[in-house]
């Protein structure tokens, strides 16, 4: 048979038509669908003995007690621990998803050394010995050149032995540049320092207050210890407690409060002074507290009466004169009123002036150190190690100033200023930091002014991360020495943010380490031992567990048995314990420092003429925005008006939308001085015209495919503004413009 072109084509077309018209392909497709459905793709979870272990969640400073349900050696569920003083069985959305972090794809499974360029994602697996000696080699080299002071350490954990070990390591090595990630706790600590003369953490007796005046604090958005705040909020719903929420956007807190008062953002302090004005004018203040426990009142009073007449405050804040007057009365007439501040989740510090104004308002009604008021909680004092004997190099290195200027003449009261640290390095040609260690922190993502932060990282010759996860900072480092995650390690966890009682909890291994990771405490001790006699001597412990057990002393037994320790004898502190000036009085005005901290509003970056709108970030329980990013379960709960496919939405008032001819779902470009991003529009009646609200916690470039590349990171658009008193970041937003694409 001859095969020519014609017969070949007829054969091909004929068979194609025949096959299509016959039921065969359809039957095959159907069969394969049914057949493949029987493939064992769906796992059958292995059964075993159920058992429970208690521990502490350290995913946020809320520090809830957790109970982990296990089947043999598999952790299958995290639940809230019943009877724990913070959460008593309740648990938040992030805490519930902890096992996705434990077993998830973003874990760093072994020490890694960078191959290729930074951030390229090419890694070589190395052994722990090699990893530690490589860091040691770098540090010894720096030290031998007399540059020990150029080592920096950024730590995300707040207090406790890990922080103490890290700081001790820096001291023994010879560098002052130990930094911690900032939060509103720093601003509150500053206030207690300036107005009460104590080094303490602010605690709030929410369980006993009957009126909460919140200056933008996200009481049910994750402010303070989230589960504790939720429970307190639910109690107010049944016991007649009132919440007044002051902020420009109808947040969940505002919607659940008894009264939402929208305010021109950034004028919160003016309102606090305006309320003080009314309270003083109508003699509604607490005379006993003012007469017996305060100083500088007359001077402060004069300033408030002269400068903050409600009529004037009404103009600045955009709140009616009559509303201000009635709010002031309501607040002062309640028996246990409490004013709080720290915007959203309080992850960023704020203006000292604003924090002091709010604290003064509490003082005015006597809500200091009393039931339902603000307490000064002493810092945990159980870490009592012998002082480091610094060798010559260390002493020399320690004479060098901190790069961030904390504790210097300009900011004598501050301990650590992370934003300023990056700004100072950015301003220099050669980085004053030659090596940087990062633990439990992800500054490349969480700090505002991303562009500067990234440039600084690129300038630092050596960066090592102790992160358990492939976060933005780890991806762009030279060496990763992965820590165990909180479910695999021991750690003491002192304090709970905002809690008025001292508490120490123990995070413990509920499951054996899943990968080739190492406790950061052990890495630091191991590292110190390789750096020569001077540093090794300061770390005389065999390992971290040994150090922890010795440090905790008598508390250890209780911690192992109950999971947490509280002081059974703890009572409300005496006045002289919380007012530590020589006068033993609350200082409305601090005369001991040379600082002029008269309140000045924070000036946002950008000119109103070119940037007519104001961009503010907003926090949500469903979007983790700190060192930990959203696990798959949590990102799944994000509404489709916040994130749709890869696009995130900004909220604007329909009025604003009309002015820019934008409509629901339309694309727009959002531009600030710091950068611009393509966003979609969500119309929301609960937001003040002229304001653009953007969710924080999106726009990751690292972690896994479930989180990465979704939405915009607000820190790429927002900058930091130095607070004149503390030097901390006081920016609450930035000026912006929107245009349709």
């Amino acid at each position: 048979m001859n095969i020519n072109r014609r017969s070949f084509l007829s054969f091909v077309i004929g068979s194609a038509a025949g096959t299509t018209l016959s039921p065969l392909p359809w039957k095959m497709q159907d069969d394969s669908a049914i057949w493949s459905q029987n493939w064992p793709w769906v796992p059958v979870p292995k059964d075993g003995a159920a058992n429970y272990t208690h521990s502490i969640c350290t995913l946020c400073p809320g520090h809830c007690g957790i109970t982990i349900r296990k089947i043999d050696d598999r952790a299958v569920k995290i639940e809230g621990m019943k009877g724990h003083p913070v959460n008593d069985g309740g648990i938040c959305i992030l805490g519930l998803s902890g096992l996705q972090l434990l077993y998830g794809p973003s874990r760093v499974k072994t020490p890694l050394r960078r191959e290729g360029k930074r951030g390229e994602g090419k890694w070589k697996k190395i052994s722990w010995d090699t990893a530690i000696s490589e860091v040691a080699y770098r540090l010894v080299e720096l030290r031998s050149k007399g540059q020990s002071h150029t080592l920096g350490f950024i730590s995300g954990s707040e207090q406790g032995t890990i922080t103490a070990l890290s700081e001790r390591f820096m001291t023994a090595y010879g560098s002052r540049n130990f930094l911690q990630t900032p939060s509103m706790d720093d601003s509150y600590a500053m206030v207690l320092n300036l107005m009460q003369g104590v080094d303490a953490q602010a605690g709030f007796d929410f369980e006993n207050t009957d009126f909460v005046l919140s200056f933008g604090s996200g009481i049910i958005e994750g402010w303070g210890s989230p589960v504790r705040m939720f429970r307190a909020n639910s109690r107010w719903r049944t016991n007649g407690g009132k919440v007044v929420q002051i902020e420009p956007r109808l947040s969940n807190t505002a919607a659940k409060s008894d009264k939402w008062i929208p305010i021109n953002p950034g004028t919160e302090a003016d309102l606090a002074f305006g309320l003080a004005h009314v309270i003083i004018k109508q003699s509604l203040y607490d005379r006993d507290f003012i007469d017996n426990h305060s100083s500088g009142f007359d001077h402060w009073k004069k300033r408030v009466l002269d400068e903050y007449h409600p009529g004037k405050v009404a103009k600045t804040t955009g709140i009616d004169n009559s509303t201000i007057i009635s709010l002031a009365r309501d607040f002062a007439r309640r028996s246990r009123p409490l004013a709080i501040c720290g915007k959203g989740q309080g992850k960023t510090p704020g203006s000292s002036g604003e924090f002091m104004a709010v604290h003064a308002l509490n003082a005015l009604v006597g809500s200091i150190n009393r039931k339902g008021g603000v307490w000064a909680v002493p810092r945990p004092g159980y870490i009592d190690w012998p002082e480091v004997k610094m060798d010559k190099t260390a002493t020399k290195g320690f004479q060098q100033r901190r790069v961030d200027g904390a504790g210097d003449k300009k900011y004598p009261q501050s301990g650590s200023l992370l934003n300023r640290f990056f700004k100072m390095i950015h301003a220099k040609e050669i980085s004053p930091i030659q090596a940087l260690l990062v633990s439990d922190a992800n500054p490349r993502y969480t700090l505002p002014d991303s562009k500067i932060i990234k440039e600084v990282f690129d300038k630092i010759p050596f960066v090592a991360s102790f992160s358990s996860f492939m976060d933005e900072t780890a991806v762009n480092s030279d060496l990763i020495l992965p820590n165990h995650i909180y479910l695999e390690r021991y750690e003491d966890v002192p304090g709970v943010t905002g809690l008025q009682k001292p508490i120490v909890s123990l995070s413990r291994p509920v499951i054996k380490p899943q990968f080739n990771t190492k406790h950061v405490g052990d890495v630091i001790i191991g590292l110190a031992k390789q750096l020569g006699k001077g540093t090794a001597d300061a770390f005389a412990w065999e390992n971290y567990e040994n150090c922890l057990e010795k440090t905790m002393g008598k508390m250890w037994k209780t911690l192992i048995e109950a999971g947490f320790w509280t002081d059974p004898n703890f009572k409300k502190p005496k006045w002289d314990e919380i007012l530590d000036f020589s006068s033993e009085k609350f200082a409305f005005l601090n005369n001991n420092t040379s600082i002029d901290y008269q309140y000045r509003p924070v000036k946002l970056e950008g000119e109103p003429t070119s940037f007519p709108l104001t961009l503010i970030p907003y926090d949500s329980m469903r979007l983790a925005n700190g060192f930990i990013g959203d696990p798959p379960f949590v990102i799944k709960t994000v509404e489709d008006t916040v994130l749709k496919k890869k696009d995130s939405f900004v909220e604007i008032n329909p009025k604003t939308a009309r002015a820019y001819s934008l409509s629901e779902g339309s694309y727009a470009v959002l531009t600030t001085l710091k950068g611009s991003a393509r966003v979609r529009i969500h119309l929301f009646d609960g937001i003040m015209p002229g304001i653009v609200a953007i969710p924080s916690g999106l726009g990751h470039t690292a972690y896994d495919k479930f989180l990465s590349g979704k939405g915009v990171n607000v820190n790429e658009l927002i900058g930091s503004v130095e607070d004149p008193v503390s030097g901390l970041n006081a920016a609450w937003g930035i000026r912006a413009k929107l245009y349709k694409t």
Binding site: P43, P45, I91, S97, G104
Partner: protein, 268 residues
């Protein structure tokens, strides 16, 4: 029947913060899968889903409220739930012993009639086989079967927890459960204590005391703050919501504009 129970839930919307913990507690308890993109809410499997309501008023009168929506475990006036009566495979059934609407995955043929019938969008279809990346299969609970592609799933009131509690009770020679022995994962997790769960027929249980359902009248309640979703359909859901805001209660059903009576469990 003495041991007839009617498990139900009361959700206090004044306390609910919309945090989403119930959604994740449910996913973690019931081996609910997840995909790379979950922003298409039509195929995003959430047995418990928290919706956001708005009062549609302009600034500054705008208001929002969150409403968690599990399966309503309806027991319609004619004795069946809308989904149960349409299922051709008896893959979903109403239990007269517990009042729980079951879903038997191995019987489900994936026709999705039940999804059409459900007025609450409480049912979800598995368009894909579930995939747990990395080591995530390790966290799967042996008490709940992971579902395969092609079947429908929905909230079961954590029925496996009921079974475990009953097994324990039988071992201890008891026939009755104490109130706290059987609680759903969302109830247990809720950090705001907004969810109460228990037997609506048992006067000792908090849910019964809260809404005092009228057993003869489809479980209707006279509680001034209470309402049920789409009350007038006659599906008699076993989820009761409490809200002190009238616009929220009105959002629970389709009212005409001129209808100004609020329903607290009463049809007009």
């Amino acid at each position: 029947m003495r041991d007839e129970k009617k498990y139900g839930m009361v959700i206090d919307l004044d306390k609910c913060t919309g945090c989403g913990a119930c959604m994740v507690a449910c996913m973690a308890e019931n081996n609910v899968p997840f995909k790379e993109d979950e922003s298409n809410k039509l195929d995003s499997i959430t047995w418990m889903r928290v919706y956001k309501l708005t009062n549609e008023k302009p600034f500054p009168e705008a208001d929002i409220c969150y409403i968690p929506r599990p399966c309503m475990h309806c027991e319609a006036d004619h004795g069946h739930s809308p989904c149960v009566s349409v299922c051709p495979a008896t893959a979903t059934d109403y239990s007269l012993r517990t009042g729980i609407v079951s879903q038997i995955y191995s019987r489900c043929i994936g026709c999705r009639y039940c999804m059409v019938a459900c007025p609450y969008h409480a049912r979800y279809f598995n368009w894909w086989d579930p995939v747990w990346p990395s080591d995530m299969e390790k966290y799967l609970s042996p008490n709940v079967s992971p579902r395969m592609r092609g079947v429908v799933e929905k909230c079961s009131f954590c029925f496996h927890r009921y079974q475990l509690a009953m097994d324990k009770a039988f071992l201890e020679k008891r026939r009755e459960l104490k109130e706290n022995e059987y609680q759903t994962a969302c109830t247990q997790a809720c950090p705001a204590d907004a969810i109460t769960f228990g037997d609506l027929n048992n006067p000792e249980h908090a849910v019964q005391q809260l809404v005092r359902p009228d057993r003869k009248n489809g479980g209707r309640t006279k509680h001034p703050r209470a309402f049920r979703l789409l009350e007038r359909l006659g599906t008699n859901p076993k989820i009761y919501y409490l809200s002190s805001r009238e616009w929220v209660r009105r959002a629970g059903d389709n009212y005409l504009k001129k209808e100004n009576k609020t329903l607290s469990g009463r049809s007009t």
